[in-house]
Structure formats: structure tokens, C-alpha cells
Symmetry: C2
Subunit: 347 residues, 2 copies
DNA sequence: GTTAGCACTCTTTTAATTCGAGTGCTAATT
DNA sequence: AATTAGCACTCGAATTAAAAGAGTGCTAAC
């Protein structure tokens, strides 16, 4: 049996997808035949396209129309057929400029990349901030702000900070507050946010002795703060680029916004490589006519965050994918550099 | 000259708008004539409707269609014609339950109202949080979080808290940090966020003496934090209810999202009463086929915040407006109660 | 002042027709 | 054996025509 997908068929498939990405119209055999590096007649192309359709890479909207790519078609195109446009030095410079190297936290850095990507691709972008796995608690503080009102503060080594306003039943004495600060410093400082479980909190509550009654609500607050750190939220940038699209309904966008955390979780499954592309309903991604490209950001080999775009199926993958890869690559470099930096100087 | 808008015409106008709000279709004379409390023939109604059209309250999409309300028509309807459905005791109870009376800050309270309103009306709601005019700075702190990294913290008397991560050129000595804390406490504690201008900051910088060089960046950060408090952001709740609408384009929504701060500012102009309704492009409000209802929340008679909804022109005004008025009324009560509370106990 | 009657207007719907792009197949060509 | 020209065929899109229907404005009668 001969090779089902010889060089010419691959070329034709690539050409069909290239054309479809540009025009959005079904592509006919004539259009392909007129391309300079295709040297066969429309009839031959028709035969090949029929085969490509049987193999599931192309489909016809109706009997007498040209072909459009199927999901499998796009998949093959992205994996093997398209020739990714290498990033020029000039583009590199531009992308580097967009990255906020002065950013005080890794999260701010990744957000700047997200903004840049959104503007350059005219797509919405999604960011998953740097995972709390890599940060430990630096400080937990309680600050009185009014009658029976206290602000709880939790700061991590990565510079992230969260707060929560607590209303207590009683006012705290200075002594109680001092105890709390000391207690937190002794027991939580240096603890990974990731490790801070309910159990640890309960143990701490139990071991508080006479302070238990008054300070338990604060500990509850601490637990909530830690929880907040763990649930790294997904953030959407350039929402306008989604809203402006005519080919998707607002309801789809709304559904995506509500499920974006879970969608992102699916996209970051270990079984995928560092770059993963999903279409339409792949793995719970649900915006019709759309594709989502997500690249992982690693630190010490472990998943630390991610950056991606959501755009139409007809996306200029050959341009966008290199952009994403370059940006996430740079970020990965920068956040590991940072680490060295800290390591060198703190010891 | 006879009264241009006699009782019957007003009744007919109200009936047309009532019907249009329900069906969304142009309303004809027959439909109106069939209503129980209209005792005249279609022909009479046609005559009246022609007058109402000349007066600018109704219009015809085309020659042989029924009438639909114009902006002026809606305006008159809302101001004078509709019979606002009084809120039943049961509804009051339900609304009260939705309000988070345990909310630690006024902002959290108003957010809870916004959520409830969004769900009850199936519209998007907009909130403008409680103005910083009513809060003073309680605390400014700097907390080291890593090499040359510091978190600046600003807390206000209303329990609001903002932070900013600063990366400095040098590490601070304990002495420098102590000075900063003391300096901030002495000079900024009790200062209204509103009053904290560039000038004050500059004066503080100038008066810092030997600490000037090292601490100026922190002061800059303080200024930025204060700025952040002043620019009370507008927050949209129930965005899905906007997205799900078929009669507006995503581009319109995007434009609104980008301009929402300014739109809200226009809506809160002093020349309007406490409740203001804008249509389509009134005063810079730009979503087609939509109306925006905003009610002011006051404290000591001064504008403190606001709550509103954005829905279709065909909104059930008679139901929604009382809801908004009730909620903002309750909030107004609650935040002034709070004040008394504080006043009583702090003296 | 109100109303019945009616001609008129203009959109919506439906159907019929045409047009054209693109295909698949067959037979000829290389 | 692979490629290609030629051609009949399919099916959506665009065009046109006709009919239906809702609602009006006007006139004349009540």
C-alpha cells in the first residue's frame, strides 16, 4: 500500500489551510493550482483533496463548495506542515522591550507578556500566574484599623501579598496582637504556601493555649488567605479582542469566562507537552470556532505558570506560536535567573 | 389651545410602552384597543398615536408598522406614566437578606447589593465603591520581602487596603525603615486620602533631610497608592447578562468596558437627581438599545458611591427602579449608622 | 369628538428562477 | 500508472416576482 500522505498531498493540505486562514472561504482546486509552487492541474488536486477528505483532514461545507480544514487538519498543520516563521532579531528586540524586566514580581512580568501578546496578536490572552509552590510565607501580620476591625496580611517570598479584613467580636489587646505576630512568625514563616493546610491551622489553633478563644477567628482568616494564594486565578487580557469577534456568541464568551479556571487546568495536563493547542471543544475548551494555545512556564522543571492566547480557528499559527514560545522561554529564563540572584546573595 | 397630552393620550402612551416592553414588537392600535381599561376604538387610538408621534414620544419603524417608544417616550414613561410597583414586605425581606450586613467594609456591602441586583434583574450592574472622601489614612507601612524588595502598605479608616511592591536600589537599614514608619505615622495618619496631593508628598520628601535619597522612591510609591484610592474604579457585576444579549454587539460592550469609569462619572453629575436614567448615547453612555439606571449613595449628604444597572431599553423599569432605590436607600442608612457607631465609641 | 370603512403602504414570506463555483467521473494523454 | 481535459451535475447564493398581512391615514358618517 502506497504512502497515503505523500509529499504533494501534504503540500496541498498546507496550501488549503494557508489559504483558508487568510480568506476564511472554502478553498477550491483552482485556487490551489494557481499557486506558484504547485505544478499540477486542478483535476489532480481534486483527486488529492478527495483523499485528504477521506482521511479526515478536510471537509466540504456542502457538495459544491471548496474544502475547509477539520480539527485533525489543523492539528496536522500545526504539528508538521506549517513552516513556523522564525522570529527575527528585530522582533526579538521588540518582544524583549514589551517584557517589563523591571517588574517587581514574577506575576507582574508575566502580566506584561500577556498584554504584549494580546496586542501583537489581536487575540485575548490568558495568564496563569506563577504558582505558589515556589514561594514561602514571609510575613503574617494583623493590623487594627478600627473598632473591632483588623486587617490580616500575608506576604510571600515572591512578593505576592494578600489581605483580608476581619471583624472580630472583641478588641484585641496589644499583648494579644504581639502574641499573634510572634506566633505566626515562629510557626508560619518559611512555610510553603502550598503546604499550609487546614490541618496545620488546626494544630496551631489547638496549641495556642489561653489565646485560643480570641485568636481563632484570625487563624481562620489566615487559612482563607492561604487558600486564596493556592487558587491561582486565571486572568484574561484583551477581552475586547474576544468581544469584537463576529463569529462567536456572547453566551459562549460568558461560559468561557465562568469556566476559565477549569479550562486552563485541563490545558495544563501533564500528558501534553509544554505547548498545547486545543480546538473548539477539545478537553473542555468550549468557544466555538476558536482555538486556544497555551504554553507552560517552568521553574526548576516544574510547572510554574502559563501563558496563552484564545483566537479564531483561522489564526496565524505560524506567527503566533513562535511568539508564545519565545515569550514563555524568556520568562522561564528570567524567573530562574532571579532565583540564582537570590541564592547568590542571600547565603 | 387644548392640553396636548390629555389623560387618555397619557394612558395610551403608557399602554404602548408597557406592551412594547413585554413583546419587543411595534404596537398597533388594535392591540391597545383590546385592553380592558381602554374604552375607545382603534381609530381614536390611531389619531392619538399620530399626535404622540408628532410630539416625539413614539415613532414608526416604517409606514405600516405599529409604534415603538422614542427616548423621550421612555423618559416621560419613567418620570410620570409608569406605575412603579411598590416593593412588598416579602420582597423587602428578600432584598435585606441579599445585603451582606456582616460585610466588614462598606465596599463589601455595596458589592453584595450589586450581586443581588444583577441576579434579580438579569442585568449587568455597575458599582462605584464608597468614595475615599470619607476615609483617612490609618497606617502606612513598609515591609521587606526580599533582596531590595519591599511591600508598601496603605490602610484607610474604612478598612480599605492597598499595597504595592517596590524594588529599591539599595537595601534599607532597620533604622531607615523605622524612620519611614515614624515619619509616615506623624505626617500622614489621619490625613484624608482625598487631600493627599503631589504637593504634600513633595513637601514630605523635601523635609526628610538625610533620608531623602534612600526613601524618595518609597514616597513615590505612597503617592501612587493614594492615587489608586482616589480613582475609585467602577466595577461591573453580572457581565454575562450583557454578553448574553443578542441585540448588542460585542464591540459595543468592549467600548463600554473601556470607558466605564468616564461613563459613570457622567452619570453622577450633580445636575441629576439621586436617580438618573440614561438611554443609548445620552451623556456619553454608549451601548445601543440599552439603558443605564444609576442611583447615588450618599453619606452626610455627600456623594459617597453609586449602584446601577445596565439593561435593554425594554427593561421592566417599574420593577427595577424600586429595587435600586430600595437597595441604595438601605445602604445609605447602613453606612451612616456605621458612622454613628464609630462616633459613639471612639470619643 | 368618535368611529366605521377602505384604500394604501410597506415589510415579510414564499416560491420560482437563475447563476456560478466547484466537484466527481470518464476518457484521453503523457 | 499517473495526470489532465472535458463535461454533466449538485447545491448554495443571489435575484425576481408574487402574495400575504399588519397597520396606517383619511374621509365620511355617527
Amino acid at each position: 500500500m502506497r504512502n497515503l500522505l505523500d509529499e504533494r498531498k501534504r503540500k496541498i493540505l498546507a496550501a488549503v489551510i494557508d489559504a483558508y486562514i487568510v480568506t476564511g472561504e472554502p478553498v477550491g482546486s483552482k485556487t490551489i493550482a494557481s499557486l506558484p509552487d504547485i505544478r499540477v492541474s486542478p483535476a489532480t488536486i481534486r483527486n488529492d483533496m478527495a483523499v485528504l477528505e477521506q482521511l479526515g483532514y478536510l471537509e466540504q461545507p456542502h457538495t459544491s463548495a471548496g474544502r475547509i480544514p477539520t480539527y485533525s487538519g489543523y492539528r496536522l498543520y500545526i504539528d508538521e506542515l506549517m513552516n513556523a516563521k522564525a522570529i527575527s532579531d528585530e522582533e526579538k528586540r521588540m518582544l524583549d522591550e514589551c517584557l517589563d524586566i523591571e517588574a517587581p514580581t514574577a506575576d507582574a512580568l508575566i502580566e506584561s507578556a500577556s498584554k504584549a501578546l494580546s496586542e501583537l496578536t489581536h487575540c485575548a490572552t490568558v495568564v496563569r500566574n506563577i504558582s505558589p509552590k515556589f514561594s514561602v510565607i514571609t510575613k503574617v501580620e494583623v493590623i487594627p484599623t478600627g473598632k473591632r476591625m483588623y486587617v490580616l496580611l500575608m506576604i510571600t517570598s515572591s512578593g505576592n501579598i494578600r489581605n483580608k479584613v476581619c471583624r472580630l467580636e472583641f478588641d484585641l489587646t496589644n499583648e494579644q496582637m504581639d502574641f499573634f505576630s510572634r506566633y505566626m512568625a515562629e510557626n508560619l514563616q518559611g512555610v510553603s504556601v502550598d503546604e499550609l493546610s487546614e490541618e496545620i491551622i488546626e494544630k496551631l489553633v489547638a496549641a495556642m493555649g489561653t489565646y485560643m478563644v480570641t485568636l481563632t477567628p484570625l487563624l481562620k482568616g489566615v487559612a482563607e488567605l492561604a487558600e486564596g494564594f493556592k487558587n491561582t486565578e486565571i486572568h484574561l487580557e484583551g477581552e475586547r479582542n474576544l468581544l469584537a469577534r463576529q463569529d462567536i456568541s456572547g453566551a459562549q464568551i460568558a461560559r468561557f469566562l465562568e469556566n476559565k479556571n477549569e479550562v486552563m487546568k485541563n490545558m495544563l495536563d501533564d500528558s501534553f507537552g509544554d505547548l498545547h493547542v486545543a480546538f473548539g471543544e477539545d478537553g473542555g475548551f468550549v468557544i466555538e470556532n476558536s482555538s486556544m494555545i497555551v504554553s507552560k512556564i517552568r521553574k526548576d522543571g516544574k510547572l510554574a505558570g502559563s501563558l496563552g492566547v484564545i483566537g479564531p480557528m483561522r489564526l496565524d499559527y505560524a506567527k503566533v506560536i513562535p511568539y508564545i514560545e519565545y515569550l514563555t522561554g524568556r520568562i522561564t529564563e528570567m524567573i530562574s535567573e532571579e532565583d540564582e540572584d537570590n541564592g547568590d546573595n542571600e547565603e
